[in-house]
């Protein structure tokens, strides 16, 4: 098992809320898959994922957690004398730490092990937002501290001769090794390790799958079990918010509303008018965004700072030492980025794509890309409007998962409802919200703000997004959004989820639908003849 298997990400659709309306979280569901080398752990994990068909599943491989070797050990490894199949070869402490964080839904930096130099690469894989983590490795069920974190423990039990055959085939075909070396390694390390350390962990398992991947019945049963447990956690989020929060109470103290000046009212009047042209709408929404951002920024703490003026006189002023990071909730929040860059020219920018599921009205997380140092920054979270507050809650939850302190988040928005403001302060009482105006009502059927501005994203962004009435168009616009983000953030090296995979998946869905239509047409023709 000397080749690095990349940890895989499966995010073909948005992630539904992983927290309750009061801001507390559900734990992530962790499945452990153990078994001897060549037993089919990876194939079983992949089959479970395919059957599960839920978004945001992560396969975490134990290969990432090999220990960094000393120079003597490296020489041993070169001569096939280092035992990679012993528990001591793994860094269980780091593994435990990472699994704990994943369980709590936090961002995790997974090491990348380099099998050539037997050390960790300086960069890491960033994992965030998994609903289900499948952790697979020969010692997945070895350490009690780790098995305690698991919701389901699986042992894949395959005959030793089959495992040997697979190992021979893989090492010779794919890794170009000679048969004697492989057999020597098998006899010296792999087999003793299995008998002494791996086989005994079978008693820690909840389920044993004989025959590995061939055992479709067992895999099917397991998948159904996981699905049932996941379903128990799901509940209707947005509608829950409408029922649970009394929004006629006094506004929370953390809410900052801009002074209602004549200009502000004038700008709002232009923006709300349904007859306003798109370029006017964009111009005035950017002007409004500037005002909101300036107001929000004045909440950032400053320190006394003395300077000398060109007349050589001292002046006691203030200085802001905070690093500022803007995070926009796409699409509509993107319109505020320009405004932020205009006032904080070196602001870090992060992006979160949250869309509403058209069938349930639930917010779904599709994408999150945030700067690595975000926990050191003062974060300005930006969205054009807060209606139910569901998307805002999700975005704040994401920031907290990335270790941003709650009192260092300011939410900037152009328009908010009383409901949304109460929802946010109810779940996250320390987050400040700065809005240019508050609208009284939210339509309980359409969830639109009334009187409102209409759909910001639709008006503001390219007309390709304008009418997502047909399913195909929705898909299309999603693909384009993803492409946009990819272009935007190419300078960031790490990946959260495999964007390209998503695009391809969407394309496949798209063409699949197309073919189905064709087949129906052909069948119809055939029948009528």
């Amino acid at each position: 098992m000397l080749e690095h298997k990349k940890n895989t990400y499966f995010g073909t659709q948005g992630k539904s809320p992983w927290y309750r309306w009061d801001g507390t979280k559900f734990d992530c569901y962790i499945v452990g898959v153990a078994g001897g080398s060549g037993s089919g752990k990876t194939s079983v994990s992949e089959r479970i994922i395919a059957n599960l068909n839920v978004p945001w599943v992560v396969v975490l491989s134990m290969d990432s957690y090999y220990k960094v070797l000393t120079s003597e050990q490296k020489i041993e490894a070169l001569n096939n004398n280092y035992n990679f199949d012993h528990p001591n070869a793994f860094d269980f402490d780091l593994l435990l730490e990472n699994l704990k964080d994943l369980k709590e839904g936090k961002r995790v930096e997974v090491p990348i092990y380099d099998f050539v130099t037997h050390s960790r690469q300086p960069q890491t894989n960033t994992l965030y937002g998994a609903n289900v983590v499948i952790f697979e490795g020969i010692f997945a069920l070895y350490d009690r501290r780790i098995t305690d974190l698991m919701d389901l423990k699986i042992f894949v039990d395959t005959d030793s001769d089959i495992r040997l055959v697979r190992r021979l085939k893989r090492d010779i075909d794919q890794r170009g090794r000679d048969i004697n070396g492989v057999i020597q390694q098998y006899l010296n390390f792999v087999k003793p390790a299995f008998d002494q350390h791996i086989q005994p962990t079978v008693k820690n398992a909840d389920v044993i799958i004989p025959r590995g991947l061939e055992n479709l019945v067992a895999i099917d049963l397991i998948t159904k079990h996981i699905q049932r447990q996941l379903n128990e956690r799901r509940y209707s989020f947005r509608w829950e918010l409408l029922k649970k929060i009394d929004y006629n109470e006094e506004l929370p103290k953390t809410v900052i509303v801009l002074e209602q000046t004549p200009q502000l009212k004038g700008i709002h009047t232009i923006m709300r008018d349904r007859d306003t042209q798109r370029d006017d709408f964009i111009f005035y929404s950017e002007r409004l965004a500037s005002l909101v951002i300036e107001r929000g920024l004045s909440e950032v703490t400053v320190k006394d700072h003395q300077v000398t003026t060109p007349l050589d006189l001292p002046y006691m002023g203030k200085r802001c030492n905070e690093k500022i990071c803007g995070v926009s909730i796409l699409r509509a929040g993107g319109i505020m980025e320009n405004g932020l860059r205009r006032v904080v020219k070196d602001a870090f920018i992060g992006k979160i794509l949250i869309q509403t599921d058209p069938t349930t009205g639930e917010p779904l997380l599709h994408f999150a890309k945030l700067p690595n140092n975000i926990h050191d920054c003062y974060v300005l979270l930006m969205d054009a409007q807060i209606a139910t507050g569901a998307a805002a809650l999700m975005a704040i939850r994401i920031l907290l998962d990335h270790n941003v302190p709650e009192d260092r988040i300011i939410f900037l928005t152009l328009l908010a409802t009383r409901l949304g403001l109460h929802v946010i302060s109810n779940a996250f009482p320390k987050v400040k919200v700065c809005t240019s105006m508050i609208d009284p009502k939210i339509n309980e059927e359409t969830l639109f703000i009334e009187p409102g501005v209409g759909n910001f994203g639709g008006k503001n962004i390219d007309c390709i997004y304008l009418s997502p009435t047909i399913e195909h168009e929705t898909l299309n616009s999603r693909i384009i959004t993803i492409l946009h983000i990819q272009i935007d953030t190419t300078e960031h090296n790490h990946l959260y989820l495999n964007d390209t995979n998503r695009i391809i998946n969407n394309l496949i869905c798209f063409s699949f639908n197309f073919y189905i239509h064709l087949i129906i047409i052909i069948c119809a023709n055939f029948l009528s003849n």
Binding site: T261, P262, Q263, K265, G266, H268, T269, I270, R272, D273, R274, D275, F283, R287, S290, L291, E294, R295, L297, S298, E299, V300, T301, V302, H305, V307, T308, T309, P310, L311, D312, L313, P314, Y315, M316, G317, K318, R319, C320, R342, V343, K345, N443, T446, F448, I449, E450, P451, G452, V453, G454, N455
Partner: protein
């Protein structure tokens, strides 16, 4: 509206037709940057532009509006306001031109006139060298742009020019970044109906008639500072 910021090291209560921007943490930090003699020109331009934008937004708030009802895309009625009266900008060269961009950012197609006033070496009095003002200025609100109000000499001259073109005194809004009490006194005692909108009122003037602590020569720092 009266001044609502506490000025550095002294107390001065300006007349009621002077409006001071609310002194937020950010504004104070911005002023600190542009006052620092070690700030380079790029930063000086960037941060003074930010203050200018705030000044312009505040200035526009003093223009009249009328109530207007519109229908929103959700089909509801919204009672707002619409802007009434036309505006134009007039900058006092050279420093005032630095504020034109900020005005354009808020009012895309605004007409801008220019006035050049320099000190006459013989009489030590400000003298009008050049004035090019948009036609129809007599019917418009005028935003007069000059970043520094020191003695008020050139400002008074510029206002006189505007009045001679038929602009109503109460339709003039004078925008500046930093004002000295002496300048405010000089302008308001002569013209009681115009409005002055400033971001900060400084201590006063030194013997060379420079604002202290001030920020040096605004035009130099914005256009030619090394």
């Amino acid at each position: 509206m009266s001044a609502n910021n506490s000025t550095n090291n002294h107390t001065y209560t300006p007349p009621s037709n002077v409006v001071c921007l609310p002194l937020t943490n950010q504004l104070e930090a911005l002023l600190t940057i542009i006052r620092d003699k070690d700030t380079n020109r790029g930063d000086f331009i960037f941060y003074s532009d930010r203050i200018i934008r705030l000044l312009v937004e505040e200035g526009l708030n003093h223009l009249p509006v009328v109530e207007k009802k519109v229908i929103t895309p959700t089909g509801c009625e919204f009672t707002g306001v619409s802007f009434k009266g036309k505006i134009c900008g007039v900058s006092i060269m050279r420093a005032g031109e630095a504020m034109e961009q900020g005005l354009r950012e808020c009012c895309r197609s605004v007409r801008i006139g220019k006035i050049l006033i320099q000190r006459d070496e013989e009489t030590a009095q400000p003298k009008l060298y050049y004035a090019k003002l948009p036609p129809g200025i007599e019917n418009r609100y005028v935003l007069l742009l000059d970043p520094m109000l020191a003695t008020g000499g050139s400002a008074i001259k510029a206002i006189e020019v505007l009045l001679s073109y038929g602009v109503k005194e109460d339709k003039i809004l004078f925008l500046n970044l930093i004002a000295a009490p002496e300048g405010i006194q000089a302008v308001t005692s002569k013209f009681s109906q115009l409005k002055i909108i400033t971001s900060f009122i400084d201590q006063g003037l030194n013997e060379k008639k420079f604002i202290i602590p001030g920020l040096g020569d605004f035009g130099d720092r914005y256009f030619t500072w090394p």
